[in-house]
Amino acid sequence: MENAVDLRLVEEPKKTLAMNPKKFGMWLFLATVMMLFMSITSAYIVRQAEGNWVYFELPPSFYITSFIIVVSSITMHWAYRASKRDDLAKAKLYISITSVLGLAFLVGQFIGWVELVQANVYLVGNPSGSFLYIITGLHALHLISAVVFLLIMLVAVFQGKVSAHNMTKMEMCTTYWHFLGALWLYLFVFLILYR
């Protein structure tokens, strides 16, 4: 045992980077997603500054979905912590709740679009509305991919493939989920501030 401790001390200086390559790749992917949304929101600001911009009200259901996505991030984190402690029962519960909340978010976003149409904001028309649909649509597309990832992890958790020793994918899923949640909050606040 003492030998092992010694070893770790000596080993320290020559480690290149502790992060798992897959997780690192994941972060790079998140950077690309971030750049995509940064460019569209920048385009939004530039376009808005040119005038001829139709003001719109954000649909009420977006407020609800924003709440849902925050809660789902919390439950996702609980699922992550539970599986890290090998507490399978809780992990199953929380990841199931997260998946349901994720689907609820998507449904809520769709209802939001329906409300937008009722408020006469269309994809085709003044760019303000077009931007709104593109931004929410692109985010929803990414969220669908995250839900698919989540469902894969859900199956993995129920099959007992996730444990404290096998957390890489679970960590990646959690990161992606938190990222998309935070991204939505950014977009939501952005849309409230710049209408």
Binding site: A4, L7, V10, E11, K14, K15, T16, L17, M19, N20, P21, K22, F24, G25, L28, F29, A31, T32, V33, M35, L36, M38, S39, I40, A43, V46, R47, E50, N52, W53, L123, V124, G125, N126, P127, S130, F131, I134, L138
Partner: protein, 616 residues
């Protein structure tokens, strides 16, 4: 690190033909796939340029002999169809910038050299790497198909500015051809991002023992920065293309407003075409450095090796590349000086643009000082690298003119711009790519390329390219606009007939010279002289692999790295090069005092590895 090598050790690739050569996950095979696809694209792109140079150089010639190749695109009078001419320049630009100098250059050398030079068994994710190539292949197929459709390929310029590119009524190429262009580019962006994620991850996570960032060859630094720029800029092009797709196919008005076609107003209201230019050039300018930086990295390595001297100012080289990478994101509006931009904003972008001259000059200075008083070996790779430095300098100097918002009013969209970017980014990067092929051919195929043919190839290309682009400066300053199908109606330009003819003839000769290279390449793969283990007496790790490295690159353990890659002609050393994996304890005669200190650490390193092995 060690853990990784243990997992992979002894796991040689014994697949069938399909898994070994076609759907391979091995970085070396993928690199060759990128190289060969890139070379095919270069031939297509070069041929297109010859066709439109015929029109520009010989405006009165009868081109009906091209009918077998171009069919209906040659009019009854034996002229190139004007819309097809626009398609030719568009596709030439698209193919050369993206398919040859991005995928062909980065795809080939990042894939080939990163694992070999940092000491990794393969890329971080072989599967993603394979996907990257096949997305590129799919993208190539779509773009290739678009050349043959009846309405012609995209014709709105490689920058695809709306409204021209958004409205099929504007030009026939903006119909199906543009749709295919956008689909192809979407696939291309995915390919490029998958590649970049892999390159960065591999450089950061999979370096061998001892390969610290300060011991990385400059090639790897260049590929690393290139990949970072790609990750940050390609999503922006994706966003621009996405909005354009919605404008074209779903009736939105992001870029369109107040357009009348044939007296009829289009329903689109409230869009801004300038918005597209902002988004496009936010990718477009970094893209210039995506194209150029790998070539500069390759050149650093080749010039140092063939000058038998350490690269001058290693840290300055890395620093200037980093500085260029950062600046590349804040200069995009210098492409848009004449869009009615606020003049104050114009001066800011002028200032930022001119600052790029500083790191660029540092690089040129360092190349020259590396060559200065070296024991030069003029291999074809070395000649092409020197050629790159020359093009980078002549093309870069004109950058000072066009980067100035006031001077640019005269020069914008003239042949001066064409000459500028073809020299500084087109020809320079192309030379970097060719230099890389000559230099690493022995590692890729285990044989040497023919030097004599290499020299002929170099001199014809070098002189030819200058003959093409030097006269263009004069034509451009006179105000000759680019992309014009014909200029014979303008009396002012009548005096340039001869010069245009010279340009066209030189272009045809330069493109023709590439067939010498092609022959040399194919012939040497099968019949070239067998390559020795380290033909250029180079220091980097790829030359420690066997002549034909198998999957996993090193048959035994991955070598440990002890020194930087540029220990050439070290005073006191037995030979004029000391590879990176030679420990300081083996070279007491040439060690500097602080290097002798490091010998103690070398011993420690070994014990650690032994202990670790016991552990796993």
């Amino acid at each position: 690190m060690e853990n990784h090598s243990h997992e992979e050790h002894g796991h040689e690739h014994h697949g069938n033909f399909w898994t070994t050569y076609i759907f391979s996950e091995d970085h070396k095979v993928i690199a060759k796939q990128f190289l060969i696809t890139g070379m095919i694209w270069a031939l297509i792109g070069g041929t297109l340029s010859v066709i439109f140079r015929l029109q520009l150089g010989f405006p009165n010639a009868n081109l009906s002999w091209l009918k077998p190749l171009l069919g209906g695109w040659i009019t009854a009078e034996g002229k190139i169809d004007p819309e097809f001419y626009l398609a030719l320049v568009t596709m030439h630009g698209t193919i050369m910038v993206f398919f040859v100098l991005t995928a062909g250059l980065s795809g080939t050398f990042s894939n080939f050299l990163i694992p070999l030079q940092v000491g990794a068994r393969d890329m971080a994710s072989g599967f993603m790497n394979m996907l990257s190539y096949w997305f590129f292949f799919a993208s190539s197929c779509v773009m290739f198909t678009s050349l043959f459709i009846s309405t012609g390929p995209a014709a709105g310029g490689w920058v695809i500015y709306p409204p021209l590119s958004a409205l099929p009524q504007a030009i026939s190429g903006s119909g199906l051809g543009m749709t295919l262009w956008l689909v192809s580019m979407a696939l291309f962006i995915i390919s490029s991002l998958l590649g970049s994620i892999n390159y960065i991850t591999t450089v950061i996570n999979l370096r061998t023992v001892g390969m610290s960032f300060t011991k990385l060859p400059l090639t790897i630094w260049a590929f690393f920065f290139t990949a970072i720029i790609g990750i940050l800029s390609f999503p922006v092009l994706f966003a621009a293309a996405l909005l354009l797709i919605f404008d074209r196919s779903f009736g939105t008005s992001f870029y369109l407003s107040d357009i009348y076609i044939g007296g009829e107003a289009l329903p689109n209201e409230g869009g801004s075409p300038i918005l597209f230019q902002h988004l496009f050039w936010f990718l477009g300018h970094p893209e210039v450095y995506i194209v150029l930086l790998p070539a500069l990295g390759i050149t650093s390595e080749i010039i140092s090796t063939n000058s038998r001297k350490p690269i001058f100012g290693y840290k300055a080289m890395v620093g200037s590349m980093l500085f260029i990478a950062v600046l590349s994101f804040v200069v995009w509006a210098h492409h848009m000086f004449v869009t009615g931009m606020n003049p104050f904003l114009g001066s800011i972008f002028t200032l930022l643009t001119l600052i790029i001259a500083v790191p660029s000059a540092v690089k040129i200075f360092n190349y020259v000082t590396t060559i200065w008083r070296g024991n030069l070996r003029f291999t074809p790779a070395m000649l092409f690298s020197i050629g790159l430095v020359s093009f980078f300098l002549t093309g870069g100097i004109t950058g000072l003119f066009v980067g100035n918002s006031a001077v640019d009013i005269q020069l914008h969209d003239t042949y001066f711009i064409v000459a500028h970017f073809h020299l500084v980014m087109g020809a320079a990067s192309f030379f970097g790519m060719v230099a890389g092929v000559y230099h690493w051919f022995p590692k890729m195929f285990g044989r040497m390329m023919n030097d004599k043919l290499g020299y002929i190839h170099f001199w014809i290309s070098f002189i030819g390219i200058y003959m093409v682009f030097f006269p263009m400066h004069y034509i451009g300053i006179a105000g000759f606009p680019r992309r014009y199908y014909t200029w014979t109606n303008f009396e002012t330009f009548g005096g340039f007939t001869d010069l245009n003819m010279v340009v066209s003839v030189s272009a045809i000769i330069s493109v023709g010279a590439q067939f010498i290279f092609l022959f040399n390449f194919i012939y040497s793969i099968f019949r070239g002289k067998l390559a020795p283990a380290n033909p250029w007496q180079s220091n980097t790790l790829e030359w420690t692999t066997p002549r034909h490295p198998q999957h996993g690159n090193w048959p035994g353990e991955i070598p440990t790295v002890y020194r930087w890659p540029y220990d050439y002609s070290k005073p006191g050393a037995k030979e004029d090069y000391i590879p990176q994996h030679i420990p300081f304890s083996e070279t007491p005669e040439s060690n500097l005092p602080h290097e002798s200190e490091l010998i103690k650490l070398e011993g420690m390193d070994n014990t650690i590895r032994v202990e670790e092995k016991k552990h796993h």
